[in-house]
């Protein structure tokens, strides 16, 4: 729908995921939303959707025990738990103005990915998904 949005989502969300070893498994762009889904080789899936019509980000992490058994959590919960100073309003678009929120998500996502994949704190995922 909007090349600029696709470019920004790539730069701020997809790129950090790729840099941390996740692979793109699904990308869908249609008139109402843009969804990208990345999979970590073992058991983690991350899905980011920007619903234009709802002016909101739907940002999930899933951990799989098997193909059909998984736990899920929305990133806004993870981010606010990870950093209590994070205000929910900062990580959702303010009407049409989505870029500051996208940048904030990007910043928090990188911190999260660093904790899990760079520092190897994989228990964190189990912990936050409890």
């Amino acid at each position: 729908m909007n090349e600029e949005i696709e470019k920004n989502v790539y730069n701020f969300i997809e790129k950090p995921l790729i840099e941390h070893g996740l692979n793109l498994v699904h990308k869908e762009s249609y008139n109402l939303a843009l969804t990208v889904t990345y999979f970590y080789p073992i058991n983690i899936k991350i899905r980011f959707t920007y619903e234009y019509v709802d002016m909101m980000f739907v940002f999930y992490i899933y951990t799989f025990k098997s193909e059909y058994v998984y736990k899920e959590k929305m990133f806004w919960k993870i981010f606010t738990e990870m950093d209590p100073s994070v205000v929910y309003a900062e990580i959702q678009p303010e009407g049409r103005n989505y870029l500051p929120a996208l940048q904030k998500n990007s910043e928090l996502l990188k911190r999260f990915l660093d904790l899990v994949f760079v520092q190897g704190n994989t228990e964190l995922i189990q912990e936050i998904l409890e």
Partner: protein, 620 residues
């Protein structure tokens, strides 16, 4: 030889006299000027026209204007509608030219255009104002061309408006003028006015003043009569219209009271041709010209057939300001003239037009006015509406009409579209319930509802803003139809990204088509689309279930997309869809803010939000 010379002299004299007589007899009274249509009349047609014209010229000769009058016939092609002095330009030029050819004349202008030959007849006339014709007053002089024109058109109509019967049309006009001249010559100088009254001339004067004619029957004298201050019944006549008994003075009294209650000062005159020679008509005209009434309603009754007791009711309403200054500011644009011409039953006409406007797609208010059944409207105006003044519909219709009327007479750029909106504002919504089940019923409920939603609901915000106390939101509208908001939650087990989750609709706005459903709410991918699939599984293929994802033509431009979305919602409302509102997304800590969803809430739920936090019912 002398006698031979004498005989020769007599023969020569006789020959000369004969020649002079013949040349005088052959001097044409009917002069055929150029004709752009290309149609060539037959010799027979020309002979008959000349004969009729000669009779007319003879009437002028008898009145002392020998050889000073001629009938001219001119045909022109109308390329554009520009006018000069109310005439098409080619005809106006010919009028000026003919004025130089003969001191007095009757000029016919046959208009041909792209639609055909002789589509319309124009008439210009100049008659003497001295001698035996000096008693023709200016008012009659002004009305006379209109009368001749009416007669010409009527005669043409009698021959199905076929161009090769143009001679019959012109002969009709010529004969009428001849009758007028002869009658006037006989009457000028007589003390008794009544025998000289020429009924069709009076009628043409009223018609020229935009009075509306209505055929009346069973005319009889009224014994006694209604006496109410603002109603001056000089005629004292009862009659019927299509079997409905009418006593104007009595019937109109409730309307007059209603108008007075609405703050209008009003006076009603009821006259007949019997009043033509008395002071009554002059007093009516004086009231219209200089009176202080907001409204002067004038009914004039003509008895056209005393044996059959048939006649014509001519009716009009004149609007006036409160003061001389205000009167001078009264402006009458096309809408104003239309309303004036229709008289009091314009109330009914405008109401009929508004129904047509409502139920027909892609029709302007002006075109809707053209589709009104004016006879029916006249009947409603005089008979149906007035006695039921106390019904909500009649009250609303009358008040709405005068809102429009007052605006039309004070605002020169007032157009039909604005008139439609104003009328809708003041009437439709005030009386919608009664309207739907009475006047609207013959058009079918579905058509009326669709029309109201399409044409009125679109203006709802504007109306709400401008009309104090107005409240007919979409929920209320649906409620009046026995449908509307149902605080009913429908939880469904939905497949969301491979996992079944319970999603609960928060409320339902029931539309008039039970087999059509639209789902709205926040989070399209994770809530709306899964819910749609689940509902489809539950209800089956008989149901048409749509979401915003079905909306084509989405656009990267938010403003445009909003408009596309809004129009889509309106179309759904118009088509009677039932809306399932899934509300806000309970996965988030706040309701969030979406211009699109807010717009949908405004359009469907009058801006009232669904519950927060959302009601969540687990499907067993």
């Amino acid at each position: 030889m002398k006698s031979l010379h004498g005989i020769t002299f007599v023969v020569i004299l006789a020959f000369l006299f004969f020649e002079i007589s013949v040349s005088q007899a052959q001097a044409p009274c009917y002069v055929r000027l150029e004709d752009a249509s290309g149609y060539e009349p037959t010799a027979m047609q020309l002979a008959e026209l000349e004969q009729a014209a000669a009779n007319l010229c003879a009437a002028f000769d008898s009145a002392g204007f020998g050889g000073q009058f001629k009938v001219y016939d001119f045909g022109f092609y109308l390329h554009h509608s520009a006018t000069t002095g109310g005439y098409p330009e080619p005809f106006a030029q010919k009028v000026a030219e003919v004025a130089g050819l003969s001191p007095y004349y009757l000029l016919f202008g046959k208009e041909t255009d792209q639609d055909g030959v002789y589509k319309r007849f124009w008439v210009d006339l100049k008659i003497p104002d001295t001698g035996l014709l000096s008693c023709v007053n200016q008012e009659d002089r002004d009305a006379l061309p209109y009368l001749i024109s009416l007669q010409t058109t009527k005669s043409y109509h009698d021959y199905n408006n076929i161009y090769h019967a143009y001679d019959k049309a012109e002969i009709g006009g010529i004969n009428r003028l001849e009758a007028f001249i002869k009658s006037t010559v006989d009457c000028c100088g007589e003390d008794d006015c009544l025998p000289c009254v020429q009924q069709d001339l009076i009628e043409s004067k009223f018609l020229a003043d935009s009075f509306t004619p209505i055929k009346i029957q069973n005319i009889r004298t009224k014994i006694g009569g209604f006496d109410m201050a603002p109603i001056k019944d000089y005629a004292k006549i009862l009659f019927s219209i299509d079997g409905h008994e009418v006593d104007i003075a009595s019937d109109i009294s409730s309307t007059v009271s209603g108008l007075q209650d609405s703050g209008f000062s009003v006076i009603v005159f009821i006259t007949s041709d019997q009043n033509y020679c008395g002071p009554q008509l002059d007093s009516v005209k004086a009231e219209i010209d200089t009176g202080d009434y907001d409204l002067v309603i004038w009914h004039h009754i003509q008895i056209t057939d005393t044996v059959k007791k048939e006649g014509i009711l001519l009716t009009n309403t004149f609007f006036r300001g409160q003061s001389e200054q205000a009167r001078s500011l009264v402006i009458c644009g096309p809408v104003c003239w239309l309303l004036k011409g229709l008289g009091e039953f314009a109330v009914s006409v405008v109401m009929q037009a508004s129904i047509t406007w409502l139920v027909e797609d892609d029709i302007s208010f002006e075109d809707a006015l053209g589709k009104v059944n004016y006879s029916e409207a006249a009947l409603e105006g005089i008979i149906a509406i007035l006695p039921t003044k106390h019904s909500k519909t009649a009250r609303a219709a009358t008040n709405a009409f005068f809102v429009v009327y007052k605006k039309a007479t004070t605002q020169d750029d007032y157009d039909y579209s604005e008139m439609g909106t104003d009328y809708m504002t003041a009437f439709m919504f005030a009386a919608i319930e009664e309207y739907l089940f009475s006047y609207g019923s013959k058009y079918g409920k579905e058509k009326i509802i669709r029309g109201l939603l399409k044409k009125a609901n679109f203006k709802y915000s504007w109306i709400k803003q401008h009309v104090p106390g107005f409240d007919l939101s979409y929920p209320k509208f649906c409620q009046k139809l026995g449908l509307g908001l149902k605080n009913k939650q429908v939880p469904l087990n939905c497949n969301v990204n491979g996992e079944y989750k319970s999603i609960t609709s928060q409320r339902i706005m029931e539309g008039w088509n039970p087999k059509k459903i639209a789902i709205i709410g926040r989070s399209q991918d994770d809530r709306i689309e899964p819910y749609k699939k689940a509902l489809k599984n539950k209800l089956g293929n008989d149901y048409d279930i749509v979401t915003i994802k079905d909306l084509p033509g989405w656009n990267p431009n938010v403003e445009e997309s909003l408009e596309i979305n809004r129009n889509w919602i309106r179309q759904l409302k118009e088509d009677g869809y039932t809306f399932y509102d899934l509300g806000f997304d309970p996965r988030f800590p706040t309701k969030g803010n979406s211009e699109f969803y807010n717009m949908e809430l405004s359009e469907i739920f009058d801006g009232i939000e669904p519950p927060w936090p959302p009601i969540q019912i687990q499907v067993p």
